[in-house]
């Protein structure tokens, strides 16, 4: 079977890759393009560790076929910091120790950024519902939720 040639944009960079027709976007990101920040937890859309944005919309890259992204824009965790400057969410996750093993962290960060882009002043309930598709198996959710709320407050006062 011939591979498909796909042209897309990842973190603002025009990108091309070859893939099998049934390959997931997550596998292409990790195995073909070396963007291993997106993690595979379940592979079935339950855990959110592979969260990315597709044309600005949060989704699981394990539930996207690689050929689907032809002509679309992808955002991954690798594009979150600007050079050495961390995104405020990344900085706050570090300061507040909102992570332990770190596997869920890229997905948490991508999902949280997507929330704050749409709702700069979320309630704790809104944060918990928005992040319900991101599972953490070690540190629990409290520190993560608090870090998101704290970041939101700081970004509001800085704006």
């Amino acid at each position: 079977m011939a591979k498909l040639h796909v042209t897309t944009t990842i973190n603002g960079e025009p990108t091309e890759f070859l893939c099998d027709p049934s390959e997931s976007l997550l596998d292409v990101l990790r195995d073909t393009l070396g963007l291993t920040g997106s993690k595979e937890g379940c592979g079935t859309g339950d855990c959110g560790a592979c969260s990315i944005t597709l044309d600005g919309r949060l989704t699981c890259s394990c539930l996207v076929l690689a050929p689907e992204v032809e002509g679309h824009e992808i955002g991954t965790i690798e594009g979150m910091a600007k050079g050495d400057e961390l995104h405020p969410l990344q900085q706050k996750f570090l300061e507040m120790a909102a992570l332990q093993c770190g596997i869920c962290t890229p997905g948490m960060l991508i999902a949280a950024r997507s929330l704050l882009e749409r709702n700069p002043d979320p309630s704790e309930t809104e944060v918990r519902f928005w992040l319900a598709g991101n599972l953490c198996r070690c540190t629990g959710y409290d520190k993560i939720v608090r870090a998101v709320l704290e970041t939101a407050a700081e970004m509001r006062s800085a704006a």
């Binding site: 049934s22 859309g45 969260s51 989704t59 539930l63 598709g133």
Partner: protein, 290 residues
């Protein structure tokens, strides 16, 4: 490596031709939240995947001049949630669709896929049944329409004929004084499969119900239109007697299974409870109280 073809036709005609040509070996891809999981666990082994998201008619939400809504089969829950008008006119349909899965899943999953998956517990379907949605279906012999309640044929089965594709939903114009609601019972706060789900749509005038439709999910091999429950509500002021009669009709319509989510007895009882609660929410919305 399996020999799979991926197609993303820009027109419905091309999609129908490709789907028919594959003679049952193709699967339609909208959000992929069911299909990709099925492919991964080996339940689905399509020879061809036909991505319908590049077809404008299947990817659009439009409100017509007469107040009816068109929802293309591939429209995601997130797109519907962000539509400036859809959730105002059809809050019950929207809440049912938005109950499905996580934020990530909402970004992709479509009510069209939810319907075509054929689950008796599909959350959006009882709400669509209550709304009186009419489907447009396209196949090798042209287009046809079908009331949404006539679409499911059994668990995992639909009344799509060979080569037919779901194009989308038409929700009828909404008379003044209308409201709808969907409630489901799950043992968690979200991200679970309905033990029972009930959708109610009402039109009211002067506190009296003038039109009603009731959809019931996860309580029979298919989602059901419960006409007897609707009849019990029409002409009433949603007094206890009318609600009791409609609730009893809802329970009577149940033909559920015993499984890990709930027993036959439990589901039959909960169907009645949800009917009453959903009817009251729909009535509040119809009368502008919520």
């Amino acid at each position: 490596m399996t020999d799979i073809r991926y197609l993303a036709p820009p027109t419905l005609d091309e999609a129908v031709r490709a789907f028919a040509a594959a003679q049952g070996a193709a699967r339609i891809l909208a959000g992929g939240t069911d299909l990709l999981v099925q492919m991964r666990n080996g339940m689905a082994k399509p020879g061809t995947i036909i991505d319908i998201k590049k077809i404008p008619e299947l990817s659009s939400v439009t409100e017509a001049a007469d107040g009816s809504f068109w929802v293309g089969a591939a429209v995601s829950g997130a797109v519907l949630a962000e539509h400036p008008r859809f959730g105002t006119v059809w809050p019950g349909v929207l809440e049912a669709i938005n109950l499905i899965g996580s934020t990530q899943v909402q970004g992709r999953a479509s009510p069209g896929g939810n319907l075509c998956h054929g689950s008796p517990a599909a959350d959006s379907v009882p709400a669509m049944v209550a709304a009186g949605a009419v489907l447009t279906i396209a196949g090798p012999n042209g287009r046809r329409t079908l009331p949404v309640e006539a679409f499911p044929a059994g668990p995992g089965r639909t009344n799509l004929a060979a080569g037919e594709i779901l194009v989308g939903f038409t929700l009828p114009p909404r008379p003044a004084g209308s409201g709808d609601a969907y409630l489901r019972m799950i043992p968690r706060t979200e991200m679970d499969i309905a033990v029972v789900g009930v959708g109610v749509s009402l039109t009211m005038a002067g506190g009296v119900v003038t039109a009603a439709r009731v959809g019931l999910g996860a309580a029979a091999p298919t989602v059901l239109l419960v006409a007897d429950a609707a009849r019990a509500l029409v002409g009433s002021r949603l007094d206890d007697a009318a609600l009791d009669a409609a609730a009893a009709a809802c329970s009577a319509a149940c033909k559920p299974i015993d499984d890990k989510r709930g027993t036959i007895v439990y589901r039959t009882k909960v169907a009645a409870v949800l009917l009453k609660r959903a009817a009251n929410i729909a009535a509040d919305r119809a009368q502008g109280k919520a």
